[in-house]
């Protein structure tokens, strides 16, 4: 059996498959299907400093080979996560990644400060949520803002810091380089692409928020291209996500330059998707005679 383990920003993962933030809650629901210890890690639901109710429904619309969501970071706040969810998660024998989604630079730094004294393994700074008016993607669409918030969080914590990037930008490689220079230990990409659907009878957008984030297989080729470009532009590890639904997608993503992958929307139609991807990777490596999965990272042979 091949070695599936990877190390990202000094954190060892038993395998490179991580459910993506916002698609897996804090793991409680999916524990009813399989033990969380099977997973490389879990990126938990994004947390703000204080709890917030999120956007009004409808918050979801189906699209060809994908979906739009406009949840708007509904969550009970960082303290609730630390007190009610983290102790339970830390017993699950998997890497716990706290997704930090403050509205202001100070919020993000304060969340990081509160997490710094907990046993959480890693932070994922979300500068890319398209569904909130303040913060979120507003941080992630200019190099200056992205660097400033990364630097502020970097100062607030010694935890390994991954920054989650928005694809809704002119040059994602410039943003990636900016956060690398500001102290990020890794980057993850892509968050959702901003999209829209309209009900042709009522002439109303299907989402009450009018617009929302597109995910699912439809975005996979875009995500793959961006991961490839970013992996060639930075020297820190890249965690790839966006529309991964099968182990084949995961292999492609790693060949493009990802050190690990996150799986999101695929979980909604198949709760077992992350586990099936792990099994598929294992089999593929054996068939290919590859001893260690990290040999895949960046292995694409571009023309």
């Amino acid at each position: 059996m091949a070695d599936l383990s990877v190390t990202i920003a000094g954190v060892p993962f038993k395998n490179p498959v991580i459910p993506a933030s916002g698609t897996f809650g804090n793991g409680r629901e999916y524990e009813k299907f399989y033990p969380l210890s099977k997973l490389g890690g879990i990126s938990v639901k994004g947390m703000t400093l204080h709890g917030q109710p999120g956007n009004p429904p409808p918050r979801v619309a189906e699209t060809p080979a994908g979906m739009l969501n406009s949840v708007g970071l509904q969550n009970p706040g960082v303290d609730h996560f630390i007190e009610e969810e983290l102790p339970n998660l830390m017993t699950k024998d998997t890497v716990v990644i706290a997704n930090v989604a403050g509205h202001t630079l100070e919020d993000c730094a304060e969340i990081a400060r509160r997490l710094d004294s907990t046993p959480v393994h890693m932070l994922e700074l979300n500068i890319s949520c398209p569904n909130v008016k303040q913060g979120g993607a507003a941080f992630g669409t200019s190099c200056e803002n992205a660097a400033a918030v990364t630097a502020a969080v970097r100062k607030a914590t010694k935890k390994p810091l991954m920054v989650k990037l928005s694809p809704n930008v002119t040059s994602i490689t410039d943003i990636a380089k900016a956060v690398e220079a500001a102290g990020a230990d890794a980057v993850s990409l892509i968050n959702t692409l901003l999209g829209m659907r309209i009900d042709i009878r009522t002439r109303r957008p299907i989402l009450k928020n009018n617009v929302g984030g597109l995910s699912g297989p439809a975005v996979f080729p875009v995500a793959l291209r961006m991961v490839w470009q970013v992996a060639n532009a930075v020297s820190i590890p890249v965690v790839g996500m966006g529309g991964i639904a099968s182990w084949q997608d995961a292999v492609e993503m790693m060949l493009a330059g990802a050190s690990a992958v996150q799986v999101g929307a695929a979980i909604f139609s198949d709760p077992y998707a992350p586990v099936k991807i792990i099994d598929g990777l294992n089999q593929y490596l054996d068939e290919q005679g590859i001893e260690h999965i990290s040999e895949l990272t960046g292995g694409v042979r571009p023309w």
Binding site: Y30, K32, G54, P58, T63, Q74, F268, P271
Partner: protein, 256 residues
């Protein structure tokens, strides 16, 4: 409680009315754990999101569940295209069921349109002690009347256009029924209907539970897309239809 996801054989398929289908599916583990008011999340091949469909029947002895659904779009059309003997990809049983009182209590189930099916298993618990008030747009959309009658329910059918049963809305029939005492009311149907039913229940001081619908994602409470506004002690909360519902106490729901 555990969740199951798997492929289960479609034993019996019936076309109940235009675009409305009944599936009886063999899935003993789900049937064993399911309670009335819960739902299953059904995959439409080729679509990214599952379709939540309430349980219309649970037969623990034969290990089957029954779902009745309407073709609303391309996804439900694909599901409706499955043939007897083919496999249905189901995740379930999900959500919370109705609160059931002792079967000798007087219950009223109120269903509107495709909100009628989840009422059947609930009515079965009360049998002759249940009044079933079921409403449809028109005679050609009417379903399940015979099923309620077979259970021994006092069945009152209404149509908006008067082509079958009593002309008018279920709320009018409910008002008439409430001239006599009742212990609990259960309802499922369109928003305005639920609002009317809840108002009558409150007016008569009768406990009432409603089953809600919302566009859904994961079905298990993780993705938070199927939000609905609820109120407790004067404060509003976003709850989620899949995990906190689909059944809610009527006093809790904020109708927009």
């Amino acid at each position: 409680m555990s969740y199951r996801q798997g492929l289960y054989p479609l034993l019996k398929k019936e076309n109940l009315a235009k675009n409305i289908y009944s599936f009886t599916i063999l899935c003993p583990q789900i049937a064993e754990e399911a309670v009335c008011g819960q739902f299953v999340h059904v995959k439409a091949q080729g679509f990214s999101l599952r379709r939540p469909i309430s349980l219309c029947g649970i037969d623990k002895q034969n290990g089957t569940i029954r779902i009745v659904f309407e073709i609303r779009g391309e996804g439900t059309k694909v599901i409706a295209g499955l043939r007897e003997g083919e496999l249905v990809d189901i995740l379930g049983p999900l959500g919370n069921g109705f609160t059931l009182l002792s079967p000798d209590k007087k219950a009223i189930v109120v269903g509107g349109g495709i909100g009628v099916p989840p009422m059947l298993q609930t009515a079965a618990h009360y049998g002759e002690n249940a009044t079933a008030i079921i409403g449809f747009r028109s005679a050609n959309a009417a379903i399940l009347e015979r099923d309620f009658k077979t259970l021994g329910c006092d069945t009152r059918l209404c149509t908006d256009d008067g082509t079958m049963g009593q002309k008018g809305f279920v709320t009018q029939a409910l008002e008439t029924r409430l001239n006599q005492p009742a212990d609990i009311i259960y309802a499922c149907g369109p928003g305005p209907m639920l609002k009317g039913v809840v108002a009558l229940a409150k007016q008569h001081g009768i406990k009432c539970e409603v089953s809600l619908e919302e566009r859904m994602g994961c079905g298990v409470g993780a993705c938070l897309v199927c939000a609905c506004k609820t109120v407790k002690d004067g404060q509003e909360y976003m709850k989620h239809v899949c995990k906190d519902g689909p059944v809610f106490d009527s006093g809790e729901v904020v109708f927009e």
